[in-house]
Amino acid sequence: MLLTFLLFTPLITGILCGLLSQKKALDGLNIMGAGVVLSLGLGVFQKVLVQGVITESETSRVSFLALRADALSAILILIISILGFLTAVYSVGYMGREIEENLMDLGKLRRYYLLFHLFIFTMLLVCMTDNLGILWIAIEATTLASAFLVAFYGHEHALEAAWKYIILCTVGIAFALFGTIFVYLASINLSDTAEPMKYALNWSYLTRVASQLDPKFMKLAFLFILVGYGTKAGLAPMHTWLPDAHSQAPTPISALLSGVLLNCALYGLIRFHILISQSVGPDFSGRLLLLFGIFSLAIATPFILVQNNYKRLLAYSSIEHMGIITTGLGFTGALGIYGAILHLFNHAMTKALMFLTLGNVRLKYKTTKIDKLRGGLLHVMPVTGSLLLIGALGLAGVPPFSIFLSEFTILSAGFSYIEGPGRISLIFSLLLLSFITCIFAGLIYHVAKMAFGTPLEKVVRGEGSLWTLVPLGVLVLFIGFMGFHIPEDLHTMILKTVEILGGHDTMVLFQRK
């Protein structure tokens, strides 16, 4: 029942939020709902750690509506529930401040919480469903739930961003549906009876028969899936909606879009990558992932270097990090996959920290232009300013923060990749390294410009409320601590994920004594 409770808590919370009309009650319910999701999410994580896989369905037979969580889902659930809770807490402060300043009213706040929790619900469904068809429906539903959140402020820019977001993502995802149909076709072709099987799209069935699936259809399917879910994951050249949507949404939503939603889309891509790897061998899909990953980095780099809008800066940095994760997956060895999954987690935490600190900045300055801030954040907002600096160093991959560790793992996987044509992976690793270096310079330059210097005189010193500071503190703990030590439970879970992704070969490397 655990999975069912976890899935439906945000749905019920959202609907209840839509019925309330007092600010205190809304805030309370919001935090309570997110808190329950957090505790249930941690519960699922522990249970998966012990049992490996948990499944729940409404009947005893294999059902196409079954919920299922394995190690890969558990990591996603962990990210969703942690960031969901922290952004819910942050939203109380952020939205409360906007209400105080009459930037929005109570009706909008109600709609915000309703959509916020629906959004969490759809993302949880993405990583808990057993059926690849439902997976598609859930990923499309994340777009639908978040479209109005992107358009939330209702001005020209927000509407333009929302329109691009929903049109481009829906078209992209339509291709993924095409891919899903081909997988279904390959799957029902296996059965000797003429009748199509009801569970032919179920993950638990597909993994058992993956090696017998017709390679011709599976290759075709993966091309469509890559374009489809790749659009949603922000891989270049299908990324054009991403900087607009991420910069126009309210800040807590930007943090969720960047930190969680992109990972959910990537999750869909990874599921199919696993199937196709077992059907036609890992090189076909791995090579494609490598190519798209590096291309995303190449596209993101110049935009980060010349960026003047700090929210767009972070959005392009998300494209970069999605590129790094896909590149890590593309190296296909256990080390690369381990790094990629670890990076998934680290990027989510660090990017959320960055968006939320810059949200505090936005609340104070009412602008997202870097040159209008005129620097001096460390004087004006000492706590936010220093957290921003730490977050930027972490995001750029400086030791001792967590992203350094995962980027280093991915790079060492690339440089030590010996099977197959090693030279290709060597070239890709060098490219990866040089792009990361350029982005490091750009990111640090922009953030230093904001943090240091003497502030404008008219700006009043002072921080926001505790609501908007405590979540940042928690996130900093994550990125600081995980640079030194990966918690035992998470380590075990990532190893299990590596196993699901078929990286058995170098498992020996990870045996801890």
Partner: protein, 219 residues
């Protein structure tokens, strides 16, 4: 003998899908395009019923019924309501003229027949001849999205694309499982609603629904 009749009837029901999409390409009014989409969806529902009858697949009757309710009644009603509400100039405003659009669409149809040939050999269902048509619908839908200025026409293009994908599922696997099909219909309906509302707000704010005016976010 029965199989042959079935194939002929199915072919008879597939051809109008193509003709209707070509008519939408040539159409210069938004309202008429939406009505043509309604006919196309109704045609698709008929095809569903026919396939369900010949293959004894009862779930296809449900799918056909849902197509009628959602794609023939609900979605066109919403779109027509919004088009009337925003009182926008009714012209489609093509970036590419109608004659050249039709030639391009014809080329796209040829392309779909050419590219699907190798796959058709591996399909064993009675509806397999629909596959090239479905690809053609997807491509024409995309072409309409690219070649039209009005935001509403982008929605119509998207819907035609979705009809194509629906047909592809029918052509290769006799449709997806019913639960999945239900979810897809739900997403489609909610998606069309949200897009409609966005178009309304865009019209309020920009005083136009020409998408080439939506270019303020850059870099």
């Amino acid at each position: 003998m029965i199989a042959e009749t079935a194939e002929q009837i199915l072919n008879l029901l597939t051809t109008p899908l193509l003709i209707l999409s070509l008519m939408i390409v040539g159409q210069s009014r938004i309202g008429a395009s939406i009505r043509l989409y309604t006919f196309q969806s109704a045609n698709l529902a008929l095809l569903c019923f026919a396939v369900g009858y010949f293959e004894q697949e009862f779930s296809l009757y449900w799918v056909g019924l849902l197509t009628l309710v959602i794609k023939v009644v609900l979605i066109p009603t919403v779109l027509l309501y919004i088009v009337n509400k925003i009182k926008v100039a009714r012209e489609v405003e093509q970036l590419i003229g109608a004659p050249s659009s039709l030639i391009i669409s014809a080329a796209l149809i040829g392309l779909s027949y050419y590219t699907t040939r190798p796959i058709l050999e591996d399909l064993y269902v009675v509806t397999k001849d629909c596959l090239p048509v479905s690809i053609a619908l997807v491509l024409i839908g995309l072409f309409i999205m690219i070649g039209r200025k009005k935001a509403v026409m982008q929605i119509v293009g998207l819907l035609i694309m979705e009809n194509g994908i629906f047909l592809a599922a029918l052509a290769t696997t006799l449709g997806m499982p019913l639960a999945v099909e239900l979810g897809i219909f739900f997403d489609l309906l909610v998606g069309a609603l949200i897009m409609g509302i966005l178009v309304y707000h865009i019209n309020q704010t920009f005083e136009t629904i020409d998408v080439d005016k939506l270019t303020r976010l850059k870099g």
